[in-house]
Amino acid sequence: MNVVIPAINWSSIGPELILSLTAMGLLILNVLANQGAKRAIPYLSLAGIAVAFVFCLRLWGGSEYAFHGMVVVDNYSLFFKIIFLLTAALTVLMSIRYLQEEGFEQGEYYILVLFAAVGMMFMASAADLIIVFLGLETFSLSIYVLAGFFRTQPRSNESSLKYFLLGAFSAGFLLYGIALVYGATGTTELKGIYEFARKINLLTDPLLLIGMGLLIVGFGFKVALVPFHMWTPDVYEGAPTSVTAFMSVGPKAAGFAAFLRVFLYSLSSLQTDYVWVLWVLAVLTMTLGNVVAIAQRNIKRMLAYSSIAHAGYILVAMVAASELGTASVLYYLLAYAFMNLGAFGVVILYGRKGEENLNISDYSGMASKHPLLAAAMAIFMFSLAGIPPTAGFVGKFYIFSAAVKAGYIGLAIIGVLNSALSVYFYLRVTVMMYMRNPEKEFAGLILSPAMAIALIIAVFGTLQMGITPSHYLNLARQSILALM
């Protein structure tokens, strides 16, 4: 084996470096600076995110391996990085006021968000299973802490502990899977695994078979596929709402980024062997997520089950596996970032310290008191339900068209029926907002400019991706060329 050591190309991990340096700098600032300067931390984080974003745009179009084939910078990873940066930025914007109100205005929060984003970005550009694992651990550790950030609230602690225990457990599965795959193929490089997998017959290689199974379990935990979803509702419910928003989008996208790269690239030659597993998981995930969401009374739990269901839709596209299918995953995750973060943004804004308004019935009569906020929430709900002209509809359209094109018509039918089922619980929020009389007095909203900007971005993204999807679809298509 020829070992070629390429020159260390720092700029290829530029966005990650920038974010890491920003986070570390802020860490020091947080210790040294006085109270007034600490207030600048969220804005400085935003600045770091913006610079990283510009850096991502500059790298667009290239495709290169760096650090001895450990990371790869291609459009695929950059597309995901943009999703993570967007998610982090919106989360920061939505958190500022929320943390102040809850009395946990601490710089560490933003720093942890930045570190989590770094982990996710590494996961997206991983060209080696080791980097996948490192990225996963980096963002998971940050989010364990974030979930328990409201340290005086027992529910937040419970959420953090549950997520930590199950997360550690699932990381074990993933690591064991990586070890077995290494044992079978002799390499942890995704390229090497690809070369190896092309030549073998899966059924004759139990080691690889078990390894792949464990990988599916590991990724399944992170993206919350049924039956590995048990942690989701409790963790989502207990964590601070802004963290829930972050973790419902970021880790899911990161998980899928690596999941797709490992399974649709490295193991693509074995697709016919494992596809039925994904088929079954997709059906279970969509159906259970939607059915159980119907019974929820708490909006965070409902959105938790809805996020499980959405992982199911994305898995449908993975089953289809084609160019179209992969592109639709990217498109869908971006759309999902806008609409889900938007929905959580409304939940955050609508809550008050001591009066969180987390029951769906608390939304009764909201439209008459806060018409604009209710309209925004309605747009997010209709988008999550997949009704045009919103991003959610176009996303589902792409996913199901990929499934139909690949011949999985049965799966597409199960998918669309699920989507019709989901209309029920998304509609219930609009029923409450528009059709019921208020059950209690409304406290006035305290709308911070940051939150307003976040919601405007989310509404704009949700509608624009639904009305003129052409541009975004092209981006998604360009992004997956490297993978195919």
Binding site: S368, F382, I387, P388, P389, F393, F397, F400, S401, V404, K405, I409, A412, I413, V416, L417, S419, A420, V423, Y424, L427, V431, Y434, M435, R436, P469, S470, L473, N474, R477
Partner: protein, 524 residues
């Protein structure tokens, strides 16, 4: 295809949204201003739609007022609009009835007026879009978009007791049908792409595709389910009585007059020309369901105590006639069907308006609460009489022309169906006249009814709008039929040619299979 200079259809679709934008800037407390602005926009919208009627060319069956621009070119999705003799009147009906609705809800809607008018405009955009879209994706988008305002109209301004139940039922029922149609659209799209190399949602391109038989059958069922729920055909009609009864008056009017037509229009525009062989084979199924709908709807009407519910079930019966006419698949049947769609819009729309007017006065819709209103409200009674007779199909009024054509068409196709369906007309006379008798004639016994005021000038104007057309279509239907004729004839030629070609293909395939089978037997 004639490409017009001015994007008239685009203007008609999106002008209501301009109205929405204007309304957003008005203070919601200034209800009177909001109403006048809405009226002005609706009137302008109707005026804008008139050139469609006057500039409509009678000598061509091609799509007119065509507009085409790429929307999502990677997918072959276009912003593609156009109308022919079949959709022309549905568009005009929509713009006209929206105008009437704005006048009709003047006194009825007192709360959240601004929101109501905004919903009305969104609904108008969606409805017109459905009728003029010639791209399957675009059609689907409008088809779904229109659900949201209707859902809000029922759910927010409906009858407080059961409005939410009715609104959610309406939404989910329609949604289930339409998502299956979405899968069918995708299957059709990829099949067309694989067969011809062109991936497109362009309806006129897709018309040219000969879908192989078993697939054609499934696609027909998937499209058919979505449309049958909307029509609604028996046994998918159960959402309709709830939605109609709980909706505010104007909601019921638009629901009956326009939304239901989307189902029948869908069969005409999509199911039959795309899948002619399946359509021909399934004529018995559709016709029998239509006849069951006619008779069942009529029988249920006989036992209704609630005026609105009675009219809702009469819609099931009337739409059964439309379906029967369309699936006669001949000129008379289809022309009758299209005309009956328009007729039903006017007569049932007017019936809902009348019930709404009396409900505003008495706050009840129960038949038993009325009786002898004739004395108290003579003008109301006169209008009610005309509309009732129109709904029954009295010669000289619009209902007669439509039903007559439908029955002629059906008789030419399958005599038995026509004979059985005709009993529906007798039943219609029974339930409508009996209802009229109980509400209008007899002694004026209830003290509450003795103080009822007759119609106001505004209400008379509203009803005149509808009655003018009831007489016009009844006396001189040629204005309308002549504009349909060319389109319907060439439509049938097209469908028939495709059907024959399909039969031939099927025959060949069947022959090949038979040969293969006999060869197999020969070997043994």
């Amino acid at each position: 295809m004639s490409q017009t200079e001015f994007p008239l259809l685009t203007l008609i679709i999106f002008f209501p949204l301009l109205g929405v934008a204007t309304l957003l800037f008005l203070n919601k407390e200034r209800k009177e201003t909001i109403r006048w602005v809405t009226l002005a926009v609706a009137l302008l919208e109707f005026i804008f739609s008139l050139p469609l009627f006057f500039n409509f060319r009678l000598d061509t069956a091609a799509m007119q007022f065509v507009e085409k621009a790429p929307w999502i070119p990677e997918y072959g999705i276009h912003y593609f609009l156009g109308i022919d003799g079949i959709s022309l009147f549905l568009v005009l009906l929509t713009t006209f009835l929206t105008l009437v609705s704005v006048m009709a809800c003047w006194a009825d809607i007192q709360e959240k007026v601004k929101g109501f008018m905004i919903c009305l405009f969104f609904l108008e955009t969606g409805m017109i879009g459905v009728f003029v879209a010639l791209d399957l994706f675009l059609f689907y988008v409008f088809w779904e978009v229109m659900l949201i305002p209707m859902y809000l109209l029922i759910g927010v301004w409906g009858n407080p007791k059961r409005r939410i139940y009715a609104a959610v039922k309406f939404f989910i029922y329609t949604m289930v049908g339409s998502v299956l149609m979405l899968v069918a659209i995708l299957v059709l799209y990829f099949h067309h792409g694989a067969a011809s190399g062109i991936y497109t949602f362009d309806l006129l391109e897709l018309y040219k595709l000969q879908v192989p038989f078993p697939l054609q059958f499934w696609l027909f069922l998937a499209f058919g389910l979505a449309f049958a729920i909307k029509v609604p055909m028996f046994p998918f009609h159960t959402w309709l009585p709830d939605a109609h009864t709980e909706a505010p008056t104007v909601g019921s009017v638009l629901l009956a007059a326009v939304l239901l037509k989307m189902g029948t229009y869908g069969f005409l525009r999509f199911s039959i020309p795309l899948f002619p062989n399946a359509s021909y084979q399934l004529v018995p199924l559709v016709s029998i369901l239509a006849i069951i709908g006619i008779i069942y709807g009529a029988l249920v009407c006989l036992v209704q105590k609630d005026l609105k519910r009675l009219i809702a079930f009469s819609s099931v019966s009337h739409l059964g006639f439309v379906m029967l006419g369309i699936f006669a698949l001949n000129v008379q049947g289809i022309e009758g069907g299209v005309l009956q769609m328009v007729n039903h819009g006017f007569s049932t729309g007017a019936l809902f308006l009348l019930v709404g007017m009396i409900y505003e006065r008495r706050h009840t819709r129960m038949i038993e609460d009325f009786g002898g209103l004739w004395k108290q409200m003579p003008i109301f009674a006169a209008f009610f009489m005309v509309v009732t007779l129109s709904s029954i199909g009295l010669p000289g009024l619009n209902g007669f022309v439509g039903e007559f054509l439908i029955l002629v068409g059906t008789f030419k196709a399958t005599g038995v169906y026509a004979v059985v369906a005709a009993t529906g007309i007798i039943l219609a006379a029974a339930y409508m006249l009996w209802m009229y008798q109980r509400v209008m004639f007899g002694e004026l016994t209830k003290p509450e009814n003795k103080v009822l005021k007759d119609l106001s000038a505004r209400e008379i104007l509203v009803l005149c709008c509808a009655t003018v057309f009831i007489f016009w279509i009844g006396i001189y239907p040629q204005t309308f039929l002549s504009r349909m004729e060319t389109s319907v004839k060439s439509y049938l030629v097209q469908v028939n040619a495709k059907y024959q070609a399909g039969l031939k293909l099927q025959g060949e395939e069947g022959g090949r299979l038979a040969q293969a089978a006999s060869a197999e037997v020969g070997k043994k």
